[in-house]
């Protein structure tokens, strides 16, 4: 594929991630990504071309650890809601920092259930956040792959075409 075609594909795919709507436990959901993801793209340049890939990779590691900790915490006989909330707060922070909007919103809902000490609500939130995390992970992986192909072919990432 030519560089121009790849760049076009990148723009369309990224825009779709900002736009996508679907119906879930919480009602109509916003896009997978928000403007913060564009901010990260803008921080990347020729002198540090792997910045976005590095941050995204950190997000994956962090999230997988937190989701595993959350699963464990909610399996306990006596649930420590403060601990659960602390994990969710961290996940909310990192998803917010990379622009993973849907995961962030799931975490906001999750924290309300923690506050109410609502076990069933927390369990459902955990399922929802795991699902949305898996989805955003595969989409981000595809996006990063496409970015690497563009750069390898000598092109640049057309971040300016993502208008907000």
């Amino acid at each position: 594929m030519e560089v121009v075609q790849m760049q076009r594909a990148w723009v369309e795919y990224t825009k779709s991630l900002f736009r996508e709507f679907s119906y879930s436990f919480f009602g109509w959901m916003k896009g997978f990504l928000d403007a913060q993801f564009q901010q990260l793209q803008l921080l990347q340049d020729e002198s540090n071309p792997d910045f976005v890939a590095e941050v995204v990779s950190l997000f994956f590691e962090d999230s997988e650890r937190l989701l595993s900790d959350l699963t464990f915490a909610l399996e306990q006989q006596s649930i420590d809601f403060k601990k659960v909330d602390a994990h969710v707060h961290q996940l909310k922070g990192s998803s917010s920092s990379i622009g993973a909007q849907r995961v962030k919103n799931d975490c906001i809902a999750f924290r309300s259930f923690c506050e109410e000490q609502n076990i069933e609500g927390c369990q459902r939130c955990l399922q929802q956040v795991k699902q949305d995390y898996c989805l955003v992970k595969s989409k981000l992986e595809a996006l990063i792959r496409l970015e690497q192909q563009i750069v390898a072919a000598g092109g640049s990432i057309p971040v300016e075409e993502l208008s907000f």
Binding site: L43, F51, E54, L58, F59, Q90, S97
Partner: protein, 163 residues
Amino acid sequence: MASSSSSLPSMEFDFDEKPHVLAVDDSFIDRKVIERLLINSTCRVTTAENGKRALEYLGLADGQHPNHSDLKVNMIITDYSMPGMTGYELLKRIKESPTMKEIPVVVVSSENIPTRINQCMEGGAQEFLLKPLQLSDATKLRCHLKKLHNPLQGGFAGEDEHA
């Protein structure tokens, strides 16, 4: 004290002396992002993962004897919510230090809580910013970078006002 014209204080740094910022945050991702933001604004960055490490770096930890002869920090930016010591507590420790209190401290938080913001501003913070940080915040941060005491000029460069 020598006083030159009434022009604005110079924010220029020596050619080979980039401003040095200490960034404190328990989130690895946020440390990476703030580091990139600051490096892109031609700063040198040191990161610390919590208040305790930050104080150790500054020579302000309990039991340390401050030796600041070669430590040059033009600004400290700290997250508010951190385990062990909050950003506010770190701010207070810095402002209590005779040697470090002049360094501008910016507090960042993911939560927009007015009482928290007031507390930090009253505690001596230069500014309070909301996370996640964006490119536009880099300009605000640059305004707070402090030129260090220059013995040849006999005084600090003036501080910028903050809103």
